[in-house]
């Protein structure tokens, strides 16, 4: 367990040693801030809605996370493969699964820091009205879960290649695909999409959180997808043995 923390600490320090972390965090804050105050998809913006709610923020945030988090995770394994540091890391007495969990935990540190910076939005809302605190907590829990899932998918694509740009593009495609493209494809394929299929998309699973509803099934869903991505990453790292 200690090794996971040691790796996570190093990864977090290394993430904030790179400009990508600061650029990503800034993009997230500016983009979600703009969408929060001025609306998304032509919907009501914060001022028109005349409601003390964070719904526009929670609707917008997963979009932006799907773009910035693969930029943070792209280096996690691809850079180690490219520079050769992976050889020293995996020949230390540590299992491949601990390496992957440590790296995921380190990148979650970035997610937590970035989300913590957005607490200014609920602070603003609270100054002008009485928002539903439960909804805010639910929304943030949803963002942590979906963000962690995006990180795990990005980490997985980072294990597939030596090239960080390739890892980023693949991670971005996967995150955007699972966030929204699956939903769009299902809608194109079916006039009345079966609920079972709709439940496969991140958007459907996240919708309840955005409303402030914490459903254990949604939690299990995101945790399960994260676990699958972690297992796949470990499998790829281990596969160096068979080549």
């Amino acid at each position: 367990m200690k090794q996971i923390w040691v790796i996570a600490r190093r990864e977090l320090a290394s993430t904030f040693d790179s400009p990508i972390a600061y650029i990503s965090a800034t993009v997230f804050l500016v983009a979600t801030g703009l969408m929060f105050f001025f609306g998304i998809d032509g919907g009501d913006d914060y001022f028109e809605a005349r409601q003390a709610t964070l719904r526009p923020f929670f609707d917008a945030a997963p979009w932006v996370l799907a773009v910035i988090l693969p930029a943070v995770t792209m280096r996690l394994v691809a850079e180690e493969k490219n520079s050769g540091t992976l050889e020293l890391l995996v020949t230390l007495p540590v299992s491949d699964s601990r390496i992957i969990l440590g790296k995921l935990l380190g990148s979650m540190g970035f997610l937590f820091v970035t989300l913590a910076l957005t607490l200014v939005f609920p602070a603003v809302v609270m100054t002008v009205g009485s928002p539903d605190i439960g909804a805010i907590i639910g929304g943030y829990l949803g963002l942590i879960l979906i963000g962690t899932t995006f990180l795990a998918l990005g980490l997985m694509t980072s294990t597939w290649t030596h090239n960080q740009i390739v890892a980023f593009i693949l991670g971005l495609l996967l995150c955007v695909f699972f966030w929204t493209a699956t939903d769009a494809l299902i809608k194109v394929a079916f006039d009345r999409p079966p609920m079972a299929l709709r439940l496969l998309t991140f958007k459907t699973q996240f919708a309840a959180f955005a409303k402030g509803v914490i459903d254990i099934r949604n939690v299990v869903y995101f945790v399960s997808v994260t676990a699958v991505a972690v297992a796949a990453s470990t499998y790829t790292l281990k596969s160096r043995n068979w080549r």
């Binding site: 200690k2 290394s14 050769g84 007495p93």
Partner: protein, 319 residues
């Protein structure tokens, strides 16, 4: 071998179309410095990568300190310190933090890491660089950081892949000295292209060529194997003008001598003739007695040794 720390049996590593190792077997004894030699692509690094669990083998058995390597990869890694050929380190880290990171990964507390780094830094010549970021270090210092992380946990076995590549001559001498010192407390496997390094540091060499072991022994043993006969160089004081032909004939009649050839004449300042002798056995004592009986001045008497380059070339070209 009873005191073997590493036992390798029939090690095979096949890639898609290439067989990198084809049934390699050898042992490494406790406290031995073993030189692993071979041309580029011979399978040296593959052997080292398997020993350190970076890659697995297609078949074969490896025992490290009594443990099956493939069944206990984590436990065997804990007993090994490894310096890979690339010596890739995290450039964004400070040397001290990097070594603490490696120590913590090996299960030490921060306090234990600090103590170990302090005691090791002098040994590997890193004291004045401990607070510097790794990306600012020269190749030689990076190599020392790599060595420090390999020795931090005082491992039973140290595996060094090309430890002096890219270093300047002074650094090479220092690292070689360090390797020799390591041999007092550790079992060392060293891969290198630099043959004089092997002669200076290694107790024994294993030569791998085209994925197979083609030689195993001390340098002297390999020399003997290549010679087949005992070769001597004899210098005898001689003033005549006939290139020492009478002496050559006398030497040729000695029991055990197979062939005598005149090499050259010299005067430095004693005028003498130099002969090369092939014999069934070591003739040095007999030749000394012969010269003494005949009243010849023996100017030179030595076994002719092959340099390691010649041994290496002959073995790898024969294989």
């Amino acid at each position: 071998m009873a005191d073997a720390v590493i036992q390798i049996r029939n090690l095979v590593k096949e890639y898609d179309t290439i067989t990198a190792l084809n049934g390699v077997s050898f042992d490494v004894k406790q406290g031995e410095i073993l030189g692993l030699l071979g041309p580029n692509g011979a399978g040296k690094s593959t052997t080292m990568k398997i020993l350190t669990s970076f890659i697995s083998a297609t078949s074969g058995q490896v025992t490290v300190d009594g443990l099956d390597l493939f069944a206990n990869p984590i436990e065997t890694r804990a007993r090994i310190g490894y310096l890979p050929e690339s010596t890739a380190l995290y450039p964004d880290m400070v040397v001290w933090d990097y070594l603490v990171y490696c120590g913590e990964m090996r299960g030490f507390t921060r306090a234990q890491c600090h103590e170990r780094i302090r005691s090791l830094a002098g040994r590997v010549g890193l004291i004045e660089k401990l607070k510097e970021p790794i990306h600012t270090l020269s190749k030689g210092y990076k190599q020392r950081v790599g060595l420090a992380q390999a020795l931090l946990h005082n491992p039973k076995i140290v595996i060094l892949d090309e430890p002096t590549s890219g270093l300047d001559p002074n650094q090479i001498v220092e690292i070689r000295q360090l390797i020799k010192e390591l041999g007092k407390d550790h079992t060392v496997i060293l891969s290198t292209h630099i043959l004089p390094e092997v002669r200076q540091t290694c107790d024994r060499i294993v030569i791998i060529h085209k994925g197979e072991k083609v030689a195993d022994g001390t340098i002297e043993q390999l020399e003997g194997k290549l010679h087949g006969t005992h070769e001597l160089v004899v210098g005898v004081g001689w003033d005549g003008d006939d290139r020492g032909e009478p002496i050559r004939q006398e030497l040729a009649t000695l029991p055990g001598v197979l062939k005598v050839t005149h090499s050259h004449g010299a005067s430095d300042p004693i005028r003498h003739q130099v002969f090369e002798i092939d014999a069934k056995q070591d003739m040095r004592a007999a030749i000394f007695a012969w010269a003494n009986d005949r009243g010849h001045t023996l100017v030179e008497l030595r076994r002719r040794s092959l340099d390691l380059e010649t041994i290496f070339q002959r073995i790898t070209s024969e294989a």
